[in-house]
């Protein structure tokens, strides 16, 4: 696997300045004269590469720098340091050859015309991206079929549901068959059904066209279903770059025991259980979170304390781990920053 990567970022950094204004009249007058600025390091020394056909998840808390990284890759934001090559070109030079071959979807901003049917917007994009008529028809037909939105094509965007709108946005982004696709929160605010449809579509698209894709999402399910490889950002720094599955092995600290019991535990039983780990009782279901190394002894103890009908042992959910990584201060997350370098 030594093909040239479609996306390559080296030492990417972004510092920007925030103006501050105090409340009240005096603050307003002061800001007329002096403007105070604070430096904010949004992204620090981030390096990674994405190859053809890869779908990489970019995760982190709000403000960890996900969107900034994505915008730098798309050429919208100028980095303060470091270097990016997308399809061998520097994205913020914004030359047409590169812009014709990449695409950006933002869940919280829409690109299509609000008062017009999506079909009209697609026609405009066809002109913008110079898609030949025959290929346009073929691609559109295919995408519309995959997402099952034939009926909605002629309806004004503002009359569509959020999920349908997002499907249209995806079609709009893929009409020109981009080689590089950035998806920023593509499932934001969607119901479970629509989320699933979008995910299946993205996977299918990837299978067929093998673009390089980077996706950010707040929904762990998106990341778990879509991405084999993830990048974890914390306070602008890359703290993990590698297979999704390895995150659990490297960072998970606990396992979760879920037991169904014949009789709900009494007070005495609850006290004994709470000595094993974090416990939550819901009727005849007991959920016990215990450190990984003590999982067998905890399971044995649990069976002794209660009359267990059924017991399952699971890994700590990915979302938990990432959340914990975000909270931890630098250096004590247990992870050393991005070695691995991808699959």
């Amino acid at each position: 696997m030594t093909s040239t990567p479609l996306i390559e970022a080296r030492g990417l950094s972004k510092t920007f300045w925030v103006h501050r204004k105090d409340a009240g009249l005096w603050g307003s007058v002061r800001s007329l004269v002096v403007r105070r600025k604070d430096a904010k390091e949004a992204v620090r020394d981030v390096s990674f590469r994405v190859d053809e056909g890869e779908l990489v998840g970019l995760v982190g808390a709000n403000g960890a720098g996900k969107t900034t990284v994505l915008k730098m890759l798309a050429g919208i934001v100028h980095p303060t340091g470091g270097d990016v090559r997308v399809l061998g070109k520097i994205p913020w030079h914004r030359d047409d050859a590169l812009r014709s071959r990449m695409s950006l979807v933002m869940g919280q901003k829409q690109q299509l015309w609000w008062d017009l049917p999506a079909a009209d917007g697609f026609l405009l994009l066809k002109e913008i991206y110079r898609v030949p008529e025959a290929r346009y028809r073929e691609t559109l037909g295919h995408l519309v079929e995959l997402l099952q939105v034939e009926e909605e094509l002629g309806v004004q965007l503002r009359r569509l549901s959020l999920g349908e709108r997002m499907k249209m946005e995806l079609i709009a982004a893929l009409l020109h068959s981009p080689r590089v696709v950035y998806l920023d929160e593509p499932t934001l605010g969607l119901d479970l059904g629509a989320q699933r449809a979008i995910r299946e579509f993205v996977l299918d698209y990837r299978r067929r066209f093998q673009p390089a894709m980077v996706v950010t999402s707040h929904y762990m399910e998106d990341i778990e279903r879509l991405c084999e490889r993830i990048l974890i950002l914390r306070q602008g720094q890359l703290v993990y770059d590698g297979p999704r599955r390895d995150v659990v092995e490297r960072f998970a600290r606990s396992k979760i025991l879920t037991a169904h019991v014949r009789h709900p535990p009494g007070d005495g039983a609850r006290v004994s259980l709470s000595q094993l780990g974090e416990v939550r009782v819901d009727g005849d279901t007991i959920r016990l979170e215990v450190p990984r190394e003590r999982v067998t002894s905890a399971a044995a103890a649990l069976m002794e304390i209660c009359d267990v009908v059924d017991l399952s042992i699971e890994e700590e959910p990915l979302g938990h781990i990432i959340e914990r990584l975000q909270r931890a201060r630098r250096g004590e997350a247990g992870g050393d920053s991005g070695d691995g370098g991808g699959p």
Binding site: T68, W113, E127
Partner: protein, 262 residues
Amino acid sequence: MLRYLRLYACFVRFSLSRAMEFRVDFFFRVVMDIVFYAVHLAFFTVLYRHTEILGGWDLDQIYVFAAGLFVIDALQMTIFSNNLWWLPIFINRGDLDYYLVRPVSSLFFLSVRDFAANSVLNVLIAFGILVWALGRYPEPLGWVEVVSFVVLLGLGTYLQYLVRMAFIVPVFWLHSARGLDEIAWSFHKLSQRPHRIYAPFLRWAMLTVIPVAFFGSFPAAVLFDGLTPVAVLHAMAVTAMLLAFVRWFWNRGLRAYSSASS
């Protein structure tokens, strides 16, 4: 070039299908502009009760000059105004992102994407007034002059857009609601009177650095005084300089935008 024309055709088509939804707005705009034209013509009519000549022009000539102003104003409203209204808002909200990732000039896209179909009737009315004013003009007019007058009205529309743009681009740094657009409108008011009434320095500025004289006065002067090679060169030089400046300034603005946003 051809591609940009095709894009523009798309914008016009969009706007037509959207305009059908806002018929009341369409009506308001027509009435608003008729009031605007009426007030202007009445202003000059009242003024000429007390003088026979203003900036070298008599009332018949002033009507032609005013009609030229109306045509430029209507074209401006139709082609550029909506876009220039939204542009500072987009910049301030950080909504340029989608325009920056497209393989099309962002300046072109953001300047003309919103064609105001509901102002098309105003253009027709303004042209109607122009035909009326030219028709009642007692002296003979050369056809070369009439054609260059009409062409210069088109150029005036474009220059008016460029001037406003030059005053809007500072929004990238000022982050104020409308930038210096209000100031551009103030200067624009200078153009509503014949440029020859102004002091030499001001007149020079209006013909060069802030070329508001091109919004009506310069075309009318060419119509009445004849088209000279100097006038042609002058118009071309002013356009080229301003266009170069606006493009340079816009690119600087985009740099500021992309280094400030997160």
